[in-house]
Amino acid sequence: MALTQTELRTLEQMAWQVRRDIIDVTVWAGGAHIGSGLSMVDILVTLYFHILNVDPANPDKPDRDRMVVSKGHGGVGYAPVLARKGYFDFETLKTFNQFNSPFGMHLDGRKVRGVDVSTGSLGHGLSMALGLALGARLRNESWYTYCLLGDGECNEGSVWEAAMAAAHFKVTNLVTIVDRNRLMIDGGTEEVMGVEPFADKWKAFGFITKEIDGHDFNQICQAVTEAHAEERAPVLIIANTKKGSGVDYMEDNVKWHYGSMDSTLADQARASVDKRFNRVN
C-alpha cells in the first residue's frame, strides 16, 4: 500500500528532524557513530512512525512490536527516533556519553525507555530477534519482531547461525532488514571481507529476499508490508543506503563511521541536511 501524500510528508519531516538531532547529539556527545546513525534514519523513521505498533506512553505494553537494532553502535541515530516518538524528552540527550548518563554509544535497554534489547556487540541481534519471534509464535501472539543488521555485521558467523535457524523454524513473524551501506570501519565491505553475492547467500540460507532503496519511504514501507504477508519463509530486506546519508561530506565516506565535529563542521552538516529537506519539498 503506497503512502499517502500526507504520510510521506510526515516521514520526510521526521527524517529531516532526526538528522538534525543526530548532528546535535554528536556535538553534545563529543563524537559518535554519526555515519552509521545517519545511514539508518529512514528505515527507523518508517518503522517507528508508520509501521510499528508501539506506545511510548506504555513502553512495555505486552502486544507491542519488538525492535532489535542489532547494529547497536547506531545509538546516536536510534536515540533521537525514540525521543521524537515520545519515549523521553529530546533534551535529555544532552547528557549523552556523560558520567552516569542513561545514554552511551550503545543503548542500554535497562536505562533507555523504548529499547527492547541491549545491543552493541555485533552479531547478537538476529538471534535475540529470532527468540522473540519464536516466543510470540509459541504464545499465539500477533506482534512482529523487527531486526536491523549492519552489512559488515553480517561477517559474524552468529548472524548466519540465526539465519539458518530462522529458516529452519519457518519463522515468518520476523522482519530482518540489512542496512546495506557497503562500508564498515576499515574500509568497504567488499574490500575488507566481501559479503557478495549477498542476496544469494540469504536465499541459500532459506530466506526470501527483497532489495530496496533504503532511503525511499515508499519502498521501505512496501517491502515490510510484503514481508508481513509472506507465509512461506522468513524475509530479508536488503536496504541499499548511503553511510552518512544527508550530510554531503560524510556520504559514502568511511572516515565518518565515527567522528566528532567542531562548530563549523556541524553547521556545514546542518546546512547540508536542510538543503536536502528543502529539495524534497
Partner: protein, 339 residues
Amino acid sequence: MAEEVTGTTWTVYDANSMTQAEIYGHVLCELGEENPDIVGLSADLAKSTKIGLFGDRFPERFFNVGIAEQNMFGVAAGLAKAGLLPFVSTMAAFTSMRACEQVRTDICYQNLDCKIIATHGGISFGTAGSTHNATEDLAIMRAMPNMTVIVPADGIETANAVRACVDHPGPVYIRVGRGFEPTYYETEDYGFEIGKAVELSPGTDITIIACGVTVLQAAEAARVLKAEDGLSVRVLNLHTIKPLDEAAILRAVTETRRIITFEDHSVIGGLGTAVADVIAASGKGCAFEKVGIPDEFSLVGYPEDLYAHYKLDTNGIIDRVRAVMGKDFEEDENWDDEV
C-alpha cells in the same frame, strides 16, 4: 607526526604523543622487519587497535578477517600450527568473551605461540558502555592454562611487553587501554621482565599493588600520602598477572602487613583476586583490600570520571589507602608458628 617516528627505543616523548596502541603498532612493525614469521590479524579494527600499521608495512602478512572474531582466533591458531607467529588484535571484550573458546581451546589448549594484544581494556572506553567494556577479561584469561597475562602500565611498558612476548613461549595476552592514558615511565630501560613485579617506591607501612592505568595514579598517591600523612608506601607495578610474582607479594605481606590492590577490572578474578590467593595461602595475617569495578556493569561516562567514581584515580587511591591504614590486622611477631 606519530606515524613517522622510527627507531627501536621509545621514550616519554613518543609515549606522550602516541597511544599505547600506536606504540604497539610501531613496535610490531620493527619486530616484523626482524622476524619474517610474524603475521598480523584483526577483525575490522585494524585502525582502532593500530595493528593496521603492521598491515600497511607488510600487507601480505596481514589478514583482516572482517567482523568475525571467533574465526580470527581460529585462523591464528592454524597459522601458528603452520609455523608462523601470529599477533592478533581486537578489543579486549571481543577477545575474551566473543572468541573465548577459540582462545582457550584452539590456542591455549594446544599451547600455541600466539600473541594477543587486546585494546580498550577495562572501562577505558567508558562512553561505549557495557557491550564494549572488558571488566572480566583478566579473570577469564587468567583461568586459561598456558596463558600469560600482562597489563602494561603505559605505552612504554607496552613496547617492552610486546617485544618480550616474542621470545616468551606459548600464548600471551597483553591488555592495553583505549590509548589516551598518561604515561608513567620515561624510558624503556627499567628492567622489564615478564613475571617480575617492579617496585616503584620502597615502603614499610602499606603496599599498593597496581597494574595498567592505575600504576601512575598509585605512584602519585604514594607521594601525596608520604607528604601529607607521613606514610611509607611501597608501590608495586604488577604488570604480569600470570605467572604471578608471588615472592614480591609475600615480601609485601611480611614487610608491610597491609596490602591494597587497584585495577581497571572487576574485583572478581583479576589482579586483586590473584594477590588475595597468595596472601591466603601464606597463612599470614594481613590487612587487605581490593579495589576495582564492583560486581556490576559499569556506569557510562568518560574514563576519567569513571576512574574517579570507582576510586581508581589518585584521590580515590589515597582515600582507600587511608581506610586500610585504619584497619586492624592480627599482631603476631612470631609467624614461624603459623601454617
